[in-house]
Amino acid sequence: MKEENKSASGKVVGGVVFAVGFIGALVFGWVIGPDLLYSQKAQPINFSHVAHQDTTCEDCHAFRPDGTYVGIPKIDKCKECHESQMGQEKSEQILVDEYIQKEREVPWLVYAWQPDNVFFSHAPHQAKGVKCESCHRPVKEEKVVPYFYENRLTGYSKSTMKMVDCEKCHAEQNGSNNCEICHK
């Protein structure tokens, strides 16, 4: 009897240990792990899209004459208006003192930066009428730039689009999913 009891309680203990391990791993895998994988980084200075409502998006995020996309503008673009300080904002002061006057580029952290093995061109997506918000966060109402979550392993942003997202949209929109479309 004693032995039977022992084995029954052993099963229970085993079950509990299994459950603890199982649930623990699930919690770690789903909740803690992903957070551990990323480090939270702040942009070098704040950029308020709201404060730039007097310009159009294309003033800064333009296409060059050769069809390539400028992405985040360079310091020369900022200089066009901020040669000297216009307002009272601390970040503007840093922009002027630390970057514009010292002729340094702001080391912006890019939320959508793709790895080198991906060839991505904005132009055909724009031509197809894909909205910026389909892939990027909406910024119209944004006063404070969000944190940048950097993958500790890869160095890319948490919001960098994954291949599956590209494929899904290409499939839905009848775009080609051939390898060489994106991996040249």
Partner: protein, 793 residues
Amino acid sequence: MAGAVGGTLLSPLPWKLTDDAAIWSQNWFWRPSPARGEITRKPTVCALCEGGCGVQARLVDGKRAILLEGNPNHPVNQGGICALGAAGLQFLYAPYRIAQPLKQTKRRGDPTGFQPIAWNEAVGELAKKLGQMRADGKPNGLAGITRRRCSSMDALLNQFFAAYGSPNLFKMPAHADSLKLAGAVTTGREAPFGCNIEDAPYILSFGAGLVEGWGSPGRMQAAFRRWRQGGKSAAKIVQVDSRCSTTAAMADRWIAVPPGTEAALALGIAHLMVKDKLYDAEFMADRVFGFEDWTDSQGKNHKGFKFLVQTDAYTPEAISKLTGVDPAKIRELAKEFGTQKGAVAVWGQPQGSVPKDMYNELSFLALNALKGNIKAGGAIGLAPEVPLGALPELPGDPSALKGLKQLRLDLASSQKGPPPVLPGNNLHGFLDAVSNGGKYPIEVMLVHEANPAYGLCENKLFQQALTKIGTLVSLSSYMDETAQQADLILPIHTAFEGFDDVIGIPGAPYAYYGVCAPVLKPHLNTKAAGDIVMSVAKQLGGSIAAALPWASHEEYLKKRAEGLAASARGALADKKGVELWKLQPEEAVKPNYKDGADLWKKLAGGACWYDAPVDPLKDLKTESGKFELAAQLLLAKGQTGDDDQVYLPHFSQVPPRGSDKDYPLLLVTYQMSALADRDLANPPFMTKTVFDFILRQNDQFVEINPATASELGMAEGDSAVLKTPQGEVPVRVHLYAGARPKVVYLAQGLGHKAYDEYIKDKGVNANGVVEVQLDRVTGLGTVWAARAHLRRA
């Protein structure tokens, strides 16, 4: 445990980590990641060789050059680019670049002895030393070697040496050295011959490496494209070569001859053309001197070329004995060449880095003269002068004149044989004089953009001379074999970082000028060589400073271009479709630039200037006023010999040193388009294109014929030692049916002892085992073969 595994597997973590690990592996530090940003293109002219190609650099944000490609609007290369150019950006970012001025503080050659020194100190030190030498009345103790023979840097250095008072300025040897003197002998003009090869229907090439480069690889690429367009061959190419080179393989016909006998075959063909009256009789009678027998100014009678070439020495049977070419084949060739309208004979190596024997030059010219090619509208012309702005006249400063009165060291010092009657750019003779304690010591040697410690044929001559030279100053971008030996290094910009120019295209009959404008800012603490020379001149002051009055090298080039504009000659090729080979001699080309400023702007923007070829027979400065096949200049200079052939093209061959018994084979070195030669090291990208039967890891292969291999008991890949009277090197053996029996072929351009791990110790340096023979007429160091011995290692 099992629970943890199960739970983990049901969570996204392992899959996410696998995905991330894949991306992480793309970011390992040795994987190159191109910079991102705005892509722009900046056209310029390539200064890596003298080819004069128009190229354009692709830049990221105007700061990082990522690609060099051919400029389709440029008339020389028409969008093409050679292997060196395509890999050329590697020089810019190479780890072996010199980042700041360095001074050797220990024993010469000790890499740990180099200490950084400020620019003003470095230049000050040099100027002080030179000032002292001049004050001591010994300015002739300064010597110089430059690579840039076809650029305004050459004129600038000439001006500096003349103003300072030294006659000892040399260039790295080139085929142009002997071609120029052949020009002086036959036409009275010291200019190299060029060939309108693009339009030639039949090209008889005596070892000319047409595919491998021949003066301007970019130009030759474009010419081949034209000839072979649509699979239809426009030019028939017959290649006379001892080895089945790339040109021979691509030619319509390959005539294999023993090394060094190409000129004999040329004269054999001339013999038949004269005998069978297949030559341009009118031209020979009216415009050529010395075809018939002639009388000199003393009234002495001499035999002419017509007589000489018809002697028994040049019958098909005699030539067949020398060359192994069947007499019937020689007859066939002579008939083909003699009757084909517009057929032209060409000669010279791919990268043109070795002068030829004067009688060789004259023999090939004679063959062209018989065809009537050397006249206006003929295929052979003399390179026209480019009327660039002149440099200030020298005031004739007494200290300088004193130095210049001293003969150049090679001519002043006692020599083994009789002195050359028509001395050229005799770097070998000079170095020989230095090492043998010449008439006066060389206290300072400037080496500009050249690497003689590696790239001079029989390079040990430079090493030997160096032991007698007080201070070696290197103006180099790279820590090459010569810079390693320097006492002071003044690092210069590489091509694409500073202003430079290209004057004329080697081998081309038309006039050409291109400006190499920087495509990006220099990223190291370097200067333009011209600026360095100018600041030394400024510090020396007085007449030397006055002789180099410009504020910068850029301004100097601008003034040169303004002078060109003032000549109101030539035009700019700034768009597609300019066909330089269609220009007629003396054709009036209408200038399409407004003024000097406009011309400079367009030149600096990548367009090039061109002008029509000149009539090679116009205003001949020879004694007879004709093209001289019988060289009265040689007679006037005191050339003597047993018979009249010393004034005429003829075949003679000085056997290489050593005996047949000790060295039963011959060594011939060759250039290939995948290997840069002489002064620049192969960029690693280029080395990647070298076949692994030429270079495998660090082993270099020599080519031998399978029959020779079996005689030697060697098989493919065997290790061996190649020995010549000059030295020995370890090699491996590659069996090649295109190699002539009993000849060993070794590629040039490998075996560096400097630079980085991708260049250093790869293969062997051919320059260490070749043999230089000083030409009897010009004293130039010529190379054809060395005796060799190959034994199993």
